[in-house]
């Protein structure tokens, strides 16, 4: 008996367990990740504002950083978050919600270098994700470059990818 037959995966999702994830699921996961990063960024900004208010309440003014700073911080947060998530568990919070996982060949998790390179490409070339819609193996541009793939994986532990 295979793992998916005795897994916590619902019966209707078992045929997809370990297969390559499609564009919609990955877009949804990436959107959630972006939302997480924006939330973290807003939280950091709120923390900074609160810190400055505590330090100098009389001369307090709401800081208004330029958009470039916000963009740079967003990309920095995003790369850090994606790298850490893919390196540690192979999935971000958005991946976890959507039930997908980033795998490298037959290995369940990416190395730090691969995770970092993939995070850079995702952050600076997000449109490369659309390639998975037309690729026969549903691989995005960063998957082709970093030799990774994204599979449906509803289990808490990594599942070997199926061909």
């Amino acid at each position: 008996m295979t793992d998916d037959e005795l897994s916590l995966v619902p019966a209707e999702a078992r045929p997809y367990q370990g297969t390559a994830a499609g564009i919609v699921t990955r877009l949804a996961a990436n959107s959630l990740d972006a939302l997480v990063v924006v939330t973290a960024l807003v939280g950091a900004y709120a923390g900074l504002v609160a810190f400055r208010f505590v330090i100098a309440p009389r001369g307090f003014q709401l800081p208004e950083p330029p958009f470039q700073w916000f963009l740079v911080l967003f990309l920095g947060f995003l790369v850090t978050y994606l790298t850490a998530a893919w390196w540690v568990s192979g999935r971000t919070l958005g991946d976890h919600v959507m039930g997908i996982r980033v795998v490298t060949g037959r290995r369940s998790r990416s190395s730090l270098v691969i995770a970092f390179g993939r995070a850079l490409m995702c952050a600076f070339f997000p449109i490369g994700l659309l390639w998975c819609a037309v690729d026969s193996q549903r691989r995005a541009a960063h998957d082709l470059v970093m030799r990774t793939s994204v599979i449906y994986d509803w289990l808490p532990r990594p599942t070997a990818p199926r061909r």
Binding site: M1, E5, L6, S7, L8, V9, P10, A11, E12, A13, Y16, A21, G22, I23, V24, T25, A28, V97, M98, G99, A133, V134, R138, Y152, W154
Partner: protein
């Protein structure tokens, strides 16, 4: 040394008379047979059978007379034979029954027949091979036979505890793939679904629904794009193929 003649036994007069008559009849028959045999072997008679005197009518010729006599004799022989067969058919079973009923056939066979040798000479394998056991078994009403058996009484007579004490249950259990069996049971009852139903929350159902929706959308987009790409490829290949 010459052997003295046997002394006649003392018998009754009637029996003596019968013996005398039988002796006379037997001597007459022997004399008649000797005369007939001598005449039949006589070359004179044989040559006379072939006479055909020109002055004797045809119906009185010796050959004609002999042929007529032979034909009559054949008819008498056939009638006598038929009568004898009828008598045998009528009386032989009765006589045989009377004879057999007075004989101890079992004792005779037991004393004079070596049954072991007879059985050895029989090819029992060939006999069994000719028997259609399947057909025989099919004619047996096993349900009726089993219904007539008191299984409870039979089982009561069996000491199951003693039998169970002889069993090596550890070996039996070791041969059973308990893990695989439990996995099949869990898969059959869909234990994950039960756990989800008992412990699941609205959030998990929402996540599950979102995941399945994503999978369905992925498949739909993949199919749509594949159809579109194939159509473009076909349309680009078709003009060249037609030339």
């Amino acid at each position: 040394m010459p052997r003295p003649p046997d002394r006649p036994a003392r018998t009754s007069d009637a029996r003596l008379a019968v013996d005398v008559v039988l002796g006379i009849v037997g001597a007459s028959v022997d004399a008649g047979l000797a005369v007939v045999r001598t005449a039949a072997e006589s070359p004179l008679l044989r040559s006379a059978a072939g006479w055909q005197a020109p002055f004797v009518p045809v119906r009185l010729q010796p050959t004609t007379v002999l042929a007529d006599l032979a034909r009559r004799g054949a008819g008498h022989r056939a009638r006598v034979r038929q009568g004898a067969e009828r008598l045998l058919d009528q009386w032989a079973p009765v006589i045989a029954e009377l004879v057999v009923s007075r004989l101890d056939l079992t004792g005779i066979v037991t004393r004079h027949v070596d049954v072991d040798e007879v059985v050895k000479a029989v090819d029992l394998d060939a006999v069994v091979a000719r028997i259609d056991l399947d057909a025989i078994v099919q004619t047996v009403d096993l349900d009726a036979a089993v219904a007539g058996v008191d299984l409870n009484a039979a089982v009561d007579g069996v000491d199951i505890d003693a039998i169970a004490a002889k069993l090596d249950l550890d070996t039996v259990i070791a041969r059973i793939d308990v893990v695989a069996m439990v996995e099949e049971v869990i898969a059959a009852i869909d234990l994950p679904a039960i756990i989800r139903d008992s412990t699941g929350s609205m959030a998990s159902e929402t996540v599950r629904s979102a995941r399945m929706t994503g999978i369905s959308a992925d498949d739909a987009i993949s199919r749509s794009l594949e159809r579109h790409i194939f159509r473009r490829r076909r349309s680009s290949i078709a003009p060249g193929a037609g030339r």
